[in-house]
Symmetry: none
Subunit: 117 residues, 4 copies
Amino acid sequence: MEFKKNQTIYMQIADFICENILTEKWSSANKIPSVRELASKIEVNPNTVMRSYSYLQDEGIIYNKRGIGFFVSDDASKMIKELQRQTFIESEIPDFAKRMKLLDISLNIFEKAFKAV
Amino acid sequence: MEFKKNQTIYMQIADFICENILTEKWSSANKIPSVRELASKIEVNPNTVMRSYSYLQDEGIIYNKRGIGFFVSDDASKMIKELQRQTFIESEIPDFAKRMKLLDISLNIFEKAFKAV
Amino acid sequence: MEFKKNQTIYMQIADFICENILTEKWSSANKIPSVRELASKIEVNPNTVMRSYSYLQDEGIIYNKRGIGFFVSDDASKMIKELQRQTFIESEIPDFAKRMKLLDISLNIFEKAFKAV
Amino acid sequence: MEFKKNQTIYMQIADFICENILTEKWSSANKIPSVRELASKIEVNPNTVMRSYSYLQDEGIIYNKRGIGFFVSDDASKMIKELQRQTFIESEIPDFAKRMKLLDISLNIFEKAFKAV
DNA sequence: GTGGTCTAGACCACC
DNA sequence: GTGGTCTAGACCACA
Protein backbone atom coordinates (compact mmCIF):
# COMPACT_ATOMS: atom_id res chain seq x y z
CA MET A 1 0.00 0.00 0.00
CA GLU A 2 1.26 3.43 -0.90
CA PHE A 3 0.62 6.55 1.10
CA LYS A 4 0.37 10.14 0.09
CA LYS A 5 2.57 12.40 2.11
CA ASN A 6 0.17 15.30 2.44
CA GLN A 7 -2.14 13.29 4.64
CA THR A 8 -1.54 11.33 7.81
CA ILE A 9 -1.13 7.61 7.38
CA TYR A 10 -3.69 6.62 9.96
CA MET A 11 -6.38 8.68 8.24
CA GLN A 12 -5.52 7.11 4.90
CA ILE A 13 -5.92 3.72 6.50
CA ALA A 14 -9.25 4.78 7.97
CA ASP A 15 -10.37 5.88 4.51
CA PHE A 16 -9.21 2.58 3.11
CA ILE A 17 -11.32 0.73 5.69
CA CYS A 18 -14.37 2.90 5.01
CA GLU A 19 -13.97 2.14 1.35
CA ASN A 20 -13.93 -1.57 2.05
CA ILE A 21 -17.08 -1.19 4.09
CA LEU A 22 -18.91 0.91 1.50
CA THR A 23 -17.99 -1.52 -1.27
CA GLU A 24 -19.04 -4.34 1.05
CA LYS A 25 -15.75 -6.13 0.85
CA TRP A 26 -15.86 -6.06 4.63
CA SER A 27 -19.48 -6.60 5.46
CA SER A 28 -21.50 -5.86 8.54
CA ALA A 29 -21.11 -8.07 11.58
CA ASN A 30 -18.02 -9.73 10.17
CA LYS A 31 -14.69 -9.57 11.88
CA ILE A 32 -12.15 -7.31 10.28
CA PRO A 33 -8.41 -8.07 10.26
CA SER A 34 -6.62 -7.83 13.57
CA VAL A 35 -4.40 -4.84 14.18
CA ARG A 36 -1.24 -6.90 13.76
CA GLU A 37 -2.51 -8.68 10.68
CA LEU A 38 -3.44 -5.50 8.83
CA ALA A 39 -0.26 -3.80 10.00
CA SER A 40 2.01 -6.46 8.60
CA LYS A 41 -0.04 -6.67 5.40
CA ILE A 42 0.26 -2.97 4.59
CA GLU A 43 3.72 -2.69 6.15
CA VAL A 44 2.96 -0.17 8.81
CA ASN A 45 3.57 0.11 12.51
CA PRO A 46 0.80 -1.63 14.50
CA ASN A 47 0.38 1.53 16.59
CA THR A 48 -0.65 3.35 13.46
CA VAL A 49 -3.33 0.81 12.57
CA MET A 50 -4.52 0.86 16.16
CA ARG A 51 -4.97 4.55 15.83
CA SER A 52 -7.13 4.15 12.75
CA TYR A 53 -9.28 1.55 14.49
CA SER A 54 -9.68 3.76 17.55
CA TYR A 55 -10.76 6.64 15.40
CA LEU A 56 -13.37 4.54 13.57
CA GLN A 57 -14.53 3.10 16.86
CA ASP A 58 -15.06 6.58 18.25
CA GLU A 59 -17.17 7.35 15.20
CA GLY A 60 -19.20 4.20 15.79
CA ILE A 61 -18.28 2.66 12.47
CA ILE A 62 -16.60 -0.38 13.97
CA TYR A 63 -16.80 -1.89 17.45
CA ASN A 64 -14.65 -4.10 19.59
CA LYS A 65 -15.36 -7.44 21.23
CA ARG A 66 -12.77 -7.89 23.94
CA GLY A 67 -10.27 -10.60 23.18
CA ILE A 68 -11.87 -11.34 19.85
CA GLY A 69 -11.37 -8.41 17.55
CA PHE A 70 -13.03 -5.56 15.71
CA PHE A 71 -16.30 -5.83 13.80
CA VAL A 72 -18.16 -3.67 11.33
CA SER A 73 -21.21 -1.99 12.91
CA ASP A 74 -24.62 -2.86 11.52
CA ASP A 75 -25.27 0.58 10.13
CA ALA A 76 -21.67 1.37 9.30
CA SER A 77 -22.28 2.35 5.69
CA LYS A 78 -25.05 4.69 6.70
CA MET A 79 -22.87 6.34 9.34
CA ILE A 80 -19.98 6.80 6.96
CA LYS A 81 -22.19 8.42 4.40
CA GLU A 82 -23.79 10.71 6.97
CA LEU A 83 -20.39 11.60 8.31
CA GLN A 84 -18.89 12.49 4.94
CA ARG A 85 -21.73 13.59 2.64
CA GLN A 86 -22.45 16.97 4.12
CA THR A 87 -18.93 18.36 4.25
CA PHE A 88 -18.28 16.75 0.90
CA ILE A 89 -21.13 18.51 -0.85
CA GLU A 90 -20.85 21.81 0.91
CA SER A 91 -17.12 22.24 1.01
CA GLU A 92 -15.12 19.81 -1.07
CA ILE A 93 -17.18 19.91 -4.24
CA PRO A 94 -17.13 23.70 -4.59
CA ASP A 95 -13.39 23.83 -3.90
CA PHE A 96 -12.77 21.09 -6.40
CA ALA A 97 -14.89 22.77 -9.07
CA LYS A 98 -13.06 26.02 -8.51
CA ARG A 99 -9.65 24.40 -8.97
CA MET A 100 -10.86 22.70 -12.14
CA LYS A 101 -11.88 26.03 -13.61
CA LEU A 102 -8.58 27.65 -12.69
CA LEU A 103 -6.70 24.85 -14.42
CA ASP A 104 -8.91 25.01 -17.52
CA ILE A 105 -10.20 21.50 -17.07
CA SER A 106 -13.54 20.89 -18.74
CA LEU A 107 -16.56 19.20 -17.23
CA ASN A 108 -16.23 16.54 -19.92
CA ILE A 109 -12.99 15.22 -18.53
CA PHE A 110 -14.57 14.83 -15.15
CA GLU A 111 -17.65 13.11 -16.52
CA LYS A 112 -15.56 10.58 -18.38
CA ALA A 113 -13.57 9.81 -15.26
CA PHE A 114 -16.75 9.51 -13.25
CA LYS A 115 -18.30 7.01 -15.64
CA ALA A 116 -15.05 5.09 -15.90
CA VAL A 117 -14.84 4.35 -12.18
CA MET B 1 -6.62 34.99 5.97
CA GLU B 2 -7.85 31.71 7.37
CA PHE B 3 -6.01 28.45 7.11
CA LYS B 4 -7.23 24.89 7.01
CA LYS B 5 -5.48 22.71 9.48
CA ASN B 6 -5.12 19.61 7.34
CA GLN B 7 -2.61 21.36 5.11
CA THR B 8 0.55 23.24 5.91
CA ILE B 9 0.28 26.99 6.02
CA TYR B 10 3.12 27.64 3.63
CA MET B 11 1.55 25.45 0.96
CA GLN B 12 -1.78 27.20 1.39
CA ILE B 13 0.01 30.49 0.89
CA ALA B 14 1.68 29.09 -2.24
CA ASP B 15 -1.73 28.00 -3.53
CA PHE B 16 -3.10 31.44 -2.74
CA ILE B 17 -0.33 33.03 -4.77
CA CYS B 18 -0.85 30.65 -7.70
CA GLU B 19 -4.52 31.52 -7.64
CA ASN B 20 -3.69 35.22 -7.79
CA ILE B 21 -1.46 34.58 -10.77
CA LEU B 22 -3.98 32.41 -12.60
CA THR B 23 -6.72 34.98 -12.08
CA GLU B 24 -4.25 37.67 -13.12
CA LYS B 25 -4.61 39.67 -9.96
CA TRP B 26 -0.82 39.47 -9.83
CA SER B 27 0.33 39.71 -13.40
CA SER B 28 3.52 38.70 -15.13
CA ALA B 29 6.63 40.81 -14.65
CA ASN B 30 5.03 42.73 -11.82
CA LYS B 31 6.49 42.79 -8.35
CA ILE B 32 4.63 40.78 -5.77
CA PRO B 33 4.40 41.87 -2.13
CA SER B 34 7.63 41.68 -0.18
CA VAL B 35 8.03 38.85 2.29
CA ARG B 36 7.48 41.10 5.29
CA GLU B 37 4.58 42.91 3.69
CA LEU B 38 2.59 39.78 2.87
CA ALA B 39 3.49 38.26 6.21
CA SER B 40 2.05 41.13 8.19
CA LYS B 41 -0.98 41.33 5.92
CA ILE B 42 -2.00 37.72 6.41
CA GLU B 43 -0.71 37.68 9.97
CA VAL B 44 1.90 35.02 9.61
CA ASN B 45 5.59 34.81 10.44
CA PRO B 46 7.86 36.15 7.68
CA ASN B 47 9.77 32.88 7.65
CA THR B 48 6.61 31.08 6.63
CA VAL B 49 6.00 33.40 3.70
CA MET B 50 9.67 33.10 2.80
CA ARG B 51 9.20 29.36 2.59
CA SER B 52 6.28 29.72 0.19
CA TYR B 53 8.26 32.10 -1.99
CA SER B 54 11.27 29.79 -2.02
CA TYR B 55 9.10 26.88 -3.05
CA LEU B 56 7.55 28.83 -5.91
CA GLN B 57 10.95 30.10 -6.95
CA ASP B 58 12.26 26.53 -7.12
CA GLU B 59 9.33 25.69 -9.36
CA GLY B 60 10.18 28.65 -11.59
CA ILE B 61 6.86 30.38 -11.01
CA ILE B 62 8.37 33.49 -9.45
CA TYR B 63 11.89 34.85 -9.53
CA ASN B 64 13.97 37.19 -7.49
CA LYS B 65 15.88 40.36 -8.21
CA ARG B 66 18.52 40.83 -5.57
CA GLY B 67 17.67 43.45 -3.05
CA ILE B 68 14.52 44.40 -4.91
CA GLY B 69 11.94 41.69 -4.50
CA PHE B 70 10.05 38.84 -6.12
CA PHE B 71 8.42 38.97 -9.53
CA VAL B 72 5.97 36.78 -11.44
CA SER B 73 7.72 34.81 -14.20
CA ASP B 74 6.66 35.45 -17.76
CA ASP B 75 5.18 32.03 -18.26
CA ALA B 76 4.03 31.55 -14.69
CA SER B 77 0.44 30.60 -15.51
CA LYS B 78 1.63 28.04 -17.98
CA MET B 79 4.02 26.52 -15.46
CA ILE B 80 1.38 26.38 -12.76
CA LYS B 81 -1.03 24.62 -15.07
CA GLU B 82 1.59 22.18 -16.26
CA LEU B 83 2.61 21.52 -12.69
CA GLN B 84 -0.91 20.89 -11.43
CA ARG B 85 -2.91 19.60 -14.40
CA GLN B 86 -1.25 16.26 -14.77
CA THR B 87 -1.48 15.09 -11.19
CA PHE B 88 -4.92 16.62 -11.03
CA ILE B 89 -6.29 14.70 -13.99
CA GLU B 90 -4.47 11.46 -13.37
CA SER B 91 -4.81 11.24 -9.66
CA GLU B 92 -7.16 13.69 -7.99
CA ILE B 93 -10.08 13.43 -10.41
CA PRO B 94 -10.31 9.63 -10.30
CA ASP B 95 -10.04 9.64 -6.52
CA PHE B 96 -12.68 12.30 -6.26
CA ALA B 97 -15.04 10.50 -8.64
CA LYS B 98 -14.57 7.30 -6.68
CA ARG B 99 -15.44 8.97 -3.40
CA MET B 100 -18.53 10.53 -4.96
CA LYS B 101 -19.75 7.13 -6.09
CA LEU B 102 -19.09 5.60 -2.70
CA LEU B 103 -21.09 8.36 -1.05
CA ASP B 104 -23.94 8.00 -3.55
CA ILE B 105 -23.55 11.54 -4.85
CA SER B 106 -24.88 12.01 -8.36
CA LEU B 107 -23.12 13.71 -11.21
CA ASN B 108 -25.90 16.29 -11.26
CA ILE B 109 -24.89 17.74 -7.94
CA PHE B 110 -21.36 18.20 -9.15
CA GLU B 111 -22.43 19.78 -12.41
CA LYS B 112 -24.56 22.32 -10.60
CA ALA B 113 -21.71 23.24 -8.34
CA PHE B 114 -19.35 23.50 -11.28
CA LYS B 115 -21.61 25.87 -13.16
CA ALA B 116 -22.23 27.91 -10.03
CA VAL B 117 -18.56 28.78 -9.48
CA MET C 1 33.00 21.29 12.64
CA GLU C 2 34.20 24.56 11.19
CA PHE C 3 32.40 26.53 8.54
CA LYS C 4 33.63 28.88 5.89
CA LYS C 5 31.84 32.15 5.90
CA ASN C 6 31.57 32.66 2.16
CA GLN C 7 29.12 29.77 1.89
CA THR C 8 25.92 29.04 3.74
CA ILE C 9 26.16 26.60 6.59
CA TYR C 10 23.37 24.37 5.39
CA MET C 11 25.03 23.88 2.01
CA GLN C 12 28.33 23.08 3.67
CA ILE C 13 26.54 20.46 5.73
CA ALA C 14 24.98 19.07 2.55
CA ASP C 15 28.41 18.90 0.96
CA PHE C 16 29.75 17.20 4.05
CA ILE C 17 27.01 14.57 3.80
CA CYS C 18 27.64 14.03 0.09
CA GLU C 19 31.30 13.55 0.86
CA ASN C 20 30.45 10.93 3.47
CA ILE C 21 28.31 9.12 0.94
CA LEU C 22 30.90 9.28 -1.82
CA THR C 23 33.61 7.97 0.50
CA GLU C 24 31.15 5.33 1.71
CA LYS C 25 31.39 6.33 5.32
CA TRP C 26 27.60 6.51 5.18
CA SER C 27 26.54 3.69 2.94
CA SER C 28 23.42 3.05 0.93
CA ALA C 29 20.28 1.93 2.70
CA ASN C 30 21.76 2.75 6.08
CA LYS C 31 20.20 5.24 8.42
CA ILE C 32 22.01 8.54 8.72
CA PRO C 33 22.12 10.50 11.98
CA SER C 34 18.85 12.03 13.08
CA VAL C 35 18.39 15.75 12.64
CA ARG C 36 18.84 16.45 16.33
CA GLU C 37 21.79 14.09 16.66
CA LEU C 38 23.82 15.62 13.85
CA ALA C 39 22.83 19.10 14.96
CA SER C 40 24.19 18.66 18.44
CA LYS C 41 27.29 16.88 17.15
CA ILE C 42 28.32 19.70 14.83
CA GLU C 43 26.93 22.34 17.17
CA VAL C 44 24.35 23.81 14.90
CA ASN C 45 20.65 24.52 15.19
CA PRO C 46 18.45 21.53 14.28
CA ASN C 47 16.57 23.70 11.79
CA THR C 48 19.76 24.21 9.87
CA VAL C 49 20.45 20.49 9.61
CA MET C 50 16.80 19.97 8.66
CA ARG C 51 17.32 22.34 5.80
CA SER C 52 20.30 20.37 4.52
CA TYR C 53 18.35 17.12 4.76
CA SER C 54 15.36 18.62 2.95
CA TYR C 55 17.59 19.85 0.18
CA LEU C 56 19.21 16.45 -0.28
CA GLN C 57 15.82 14.78 -0.14
CA ASP C 58 14.55 17.05 -2.92
CA GLU C 59 17.56 15.99 -4.97
CA GLY C 60 16.76 12.34 -4.33
CA ILE C 61 20.03 11.66 -2.55
CA ILE C 62 18.46 10.68 0.75
CA TYR C 63 14.91 9.66 1.63
CA ASN C 64 12.76 9.57 4.67
CA LYS C 65 10.82 6.88 6.48
CA ARG C 66 8.11 8.51 8.52
CA GLY C 67 8.89 8.60 12.19
CA ILE C 68 12.07 6.62 11.71
CA GLY C 69 14.67 8.78 10.05
CA PHE C 70 16.62 9.52 6.90
CA PHE C 71 18.35 6.93 4.75
CA VAL C 72 20.87 7.04 1.92
CA SER C 73 19.22 6.30 -1.44
CA ASP C 74 20.38 3.25 -3.33
CA ASP C 75 21.91 5.22 -6.17
CA ALA C 76 22.96 8.20 -4.08
CA SER C 77 26.58 8.28 -5.26
CA LYS C 78 25.48 8.16 -8.84
CA MET C 79 23.03 11.00 -8.31
CA ILE C 80 25.60 13.14 -6.54
CA LYS C 81 28.08 12.65 -9.34
CA GLU C 82 25.50 13.37 -12.00
CA LEU C 83 24.38 16.44 -10.10
CA GLN C 84 27.86 17.87 -9.64
CA ARG C 85 29.97 16.56 -12.53
CA GLN C 86 28.35 18.49 -15.31
CA THR C 87 28.46 21.94 -13.77
CA PHE C 88 31.90 21.11 -12.44
CA ILE C 89 33.37 20.21 -15.80
CA GLU C 90 31.56 22.78 -17.85
CA SER C 91 31.75 25.72 -15.52
CA GLU C 92 34.05 25.37 -12.53
CA ILE C 93 37.03 23.80 -14.25
CA PRO C 94 37.28 26.43 -17.01
CA ASP C 95 36.87 29.23 -14.48
CA PHE C 96 39.49 27.71 -12.27
CA ALA C 97 41.95 27.19 -15.12
CA LYS C 98 41.41 30.77 -16.22
CA ARG C 99 42.17 32.12 -12.77
CA MET C 100 45.30 29.98 -12.57
CA LYS C 101 46.59 31.44 -15.82
CA LEU C 102 45.80 34.98 -14.74
CA LEU C 103 47.74 34.40 -11.53
CA ASP C 104 50.66 32.82 -13.38
CA ILE C 105 50.30 29.50 -11.62
CA SER C 106 51.77 26.59 -13.53
CA LEU C 107 50.10 23.28 -14.23
CA ASN C 108 52.87 21.60 -12.24
CA ILE C 109 51.73 23.10 -8.99
CA PHE C 110 48.25 21.81 -9.55
CA GLU C 111 49.43 18.34 -10.50
CA LYS C 112 51.46 18.06 -7.35
CA ALA C 113 48.51 19.07 -5.22
CA PHE C 114 46.28 16.63 -7.07
CA LYS C 115 48.58 13.71 -6.48
CA ALA C 116 49.08 14.70 -2.86
CA VAL C 117 45.40 14.43 -1.95
CA MET D 1 26.71 40.35 -17.61
CA GLU D 2 25.45 37.39 -15.66
CA PHE D 3 26.04 36.84 -11.99
CA LYS D 4 26.31 33.70 -9.96
CA LYS D 5 24.07 33.65 -6.98
CA ASN D 6 26.45 32.00 -4.56
CA GLN D 7 28.70 35.05 -4.57
CA THR D 8 28.01 38.69 -3.93
CA ILE D 9 27.59 40.85 -7.00
CA TYR D 10 30.09 43.51 -5.97
CA MET D 11 32.82 40.90 -5.52
CA GLN D 12 32.06 39.41 -8.91
CA ILE D 13 32.40 42.87 -10.40
CA ALA D 14 35.70 43.34 -8.56
CA ASP D 15 36.92 40.04 -10.01
CA PHE D 16 35.81 41.16 -13.43
CA ILE D 17 37.83 44.35 -13.07
CA CYS D 18 40.89 42.48 -11.82
CA GLU D 19 40.62 40.21 -14.81
CA ASN D 20 40.57 43.18 -17.13
CA ILE D 21 43.65 44.55 -15.44
CA LEU D 22 45.54 41.25 -15.53
CA THR D 23 44.73 40.76 -19.19
CA GLU D 24 45.71 44.37 -19.75
CA LYS D 25 42.41 45.32 -21.31
CA TRP D 26 42.41 48.11 -18.77
CA SER D 27 45.98 49.18 -18.55
CA SER D 28 47.94 51.03 -15.93
CA ALA D 29 47.47 54.76 -15.57
CA ASN D 30 44.44 54.76 -17.82
CA LYS D 31 41.04 55.89 -16.63
CA ILE D 32 38.55 53.11 -16.04
CA PRO D 33 34.81 53.54 -16.71
CA SER D 34 32.93 55.83 -14.37
CA VAL D 35 30.68 54.25 -11.77
CA ARG D 36 27.54 55.23 -13.64
CA GLU D 37 28.91 54.13 -16.98
CA LEU D 38 29.88 50.67 -15.84
CA ALA D 39 26.68 50.34 -13.82
CA SER D 40 24.44 51.00 -16.80
CA LYS D 41 26.56 48.80 -19.03
CA ILE D 42 26.29 45.73 -16.80
CA GLU D 43 22.78 46.66 -15.61
CA VAL D 44 23.46 47.01 -11.93
CA ASN D 45 22.75 49.56 -9.28
CA PRO D 46 25.49 52.27 -9.24
CA ASN D 47 25.84 51.76 -5.48
CA THR D 48 26.96 48.22 -6.17
CA VAL D 49 29.66 49.29 -8.61
CA MET D 50 30.75 51.99 -6.18
CA ARG D 51 31.21 49.30 -3.61
CA SER D 52 33.47 47.29 -5.91
CA TYR D 53 35.55 50.37 -6.66
CA SER D 54 35.86 51.22 -2.98
CA TYR D 55 36.99 47.71 -2.22
CA LEU D 56 39.64 47.79 -4.95
CA GLN D 57 40.73 51.24 -3.84
CA ASP D 58 41.20 49.98 -0.29
CA GLU D 59 43.40 47.23 -1.68
CA GLY D 60 45.41 49.80 -3.60
CA ILE D 61 44.59 48.31 -6.97
CA ILE D 62 42.87 51.42 -8.30
CA TYR D 63 42.98 55.01 -7.13
CA ASN D 64 40.77 58.02 -7.42
CA LYS D 65 41.43 61.49 -8.84
CA ARG D 66 38.77 63.75 -7.44
CA GLY D 67 36.33 64.95 -9.99
CA ILE D 68 38.00 62.97 -12.74
CA GLY D 69 37.57 59.29 -12.05
CA PHE D 70 39.28 56.06 -11.13
CA PHE D 71 42.60 54.86 -12.51
CA VAL D 72 44.53 51.62 -12.50
CA SER D 73 47.51 51.75 -10.13
CA ASP D 74 50.96 51.33 -11.60
CA ASP D 75 51.64 48.04 -9.91
CA ALA D 76 48.07 46.81 -9.96
CA SER D 77 48.77 43.44 -11.58
CA LYS D 78 51.49 42.71 -9.10
CA MET D 79 49.22 43.59 -6.17
CA ILE D 80 46.41 41.45 -7.47
CA LYS D 81 48.68 38.49 -7.86
CA GLU D 82 50.20 38.94 -4.42
CA LEU D 83 46.73 39.29 -2.95
CA GLN D 84 45.36 36.14 -4.52
CA ARG D 85 48.23 33.71 -5.14
CA GLN D 86 48.89 32.57 -1.63
CA THR D 87 45.36 31.67 -0.58
CA PHE D 88 44.82 30.22 -4.03
CA ILE D 89 47.71 27.81 -3.80
CA GLU D 90 47.37 26.92 -0.15
CA SER D 91 43.62 26.62 0.11
CA GLU D 92 41.71 26.64 -3.14
CA ILE D 93 43.88 24.26 -5.13
CA PRO D 94 43.82 21.45 -2.53
CA ASP D 95 40.05 21.80 -2.08
CA PHE D 96 39.55 21.73 -5.80
CA ALA D 97 41.74 18.67 -6.27
CA LYS D 98 39.87 16.89 -3.52
CA ARG D 99 36.51 17.55 -5.13
CA MET D 100 37.82 16.34 -8.47
CA LYS D 101 38.89 13.05 -6.96
CA LEU D 102 35.54 12.56 -5.24
CA LEU D 103 33.75 13.13 -8.53
CA ASP D 104 36.05 10.76 -10.40
CA ILE D 105 37.36 13.47 -12.68
CA SER D 106 40.74 12.71 -14.15
CA LEU D 107 43.72 15.02 -14.32
CA ASN D 108 43.51 14.78 -18.10
CA ILE D 109 40.22 16.62 -18.25
CA PHE D 110 41.70 19.44 -16.25
CA GLU D 111 44.81 19.64 -18.36
CA LYS D 112 42.81 19.89 -21.53
CA ALA D 113 40.71 22.68 -20.09
CA PHE D 114 43.83 24.44 -18.88
CA LYS D 115 45.44 24.37 -22.29
CA ALA D 116 42.23 25.37 -23.99
CA VAL D 117 41.89 28.64 -22.08
C1' DG E 1 12.32 8.43 19.78
C1' DT E 2 11.61 10.48 14.66
C1' DG E 3 10.70 14.42 11.18
C1' DG E 4 7.84 18.74 10.12
C1' DT E 5 6.07 23.14 10.83
C1' DC E 6 5.73 27.47 12.89
C1' DT E 7 6.93 31.61 15.69
C1' DA E 8 9.96 35.19 17.41
C1' DG E 9 13.72 37.65 16.88
C1' DA E 10 18.28 38.59 15.24
C1' DC E 11 22.04 39.74 11.89
C1' DC E 12 23.93 40.17 7.29
C1' DA E 13 24.60 41.56 2.47
C1' DC E 14 22.68 44.02 -1.10
C1' DC E 15 19.99 47.83 -3.56
C1' DG F 1 13.97 49.14 1.85
C1' DT F 2 14.82 43.96 -0.04
C1' DG F 3 15.78 38.77 0.54
C1' DG F 4 18.61 35.08 3.10
C1' DT F 5 20.28 32.66 6.86
C1' DC F 6 20.51 31.27 11.45
C1' DT F 7 19.19 30.52 16.36
C1' DA F 8 16.08 29.29 20.08
C1' DG F 9 12.26 27.22 21.45
C1' DA F 10 7.76 25.32 20.91
C1' DC F 11 4.09 22.01 19.38
C1' DC F 12 2.34 18.29 16.55
C1' DA F 13 1.83 13.78 14.25
C1' DC F 14 3.86 9.52 13.70
C1' DA F 15 6.50 4.95 15.00
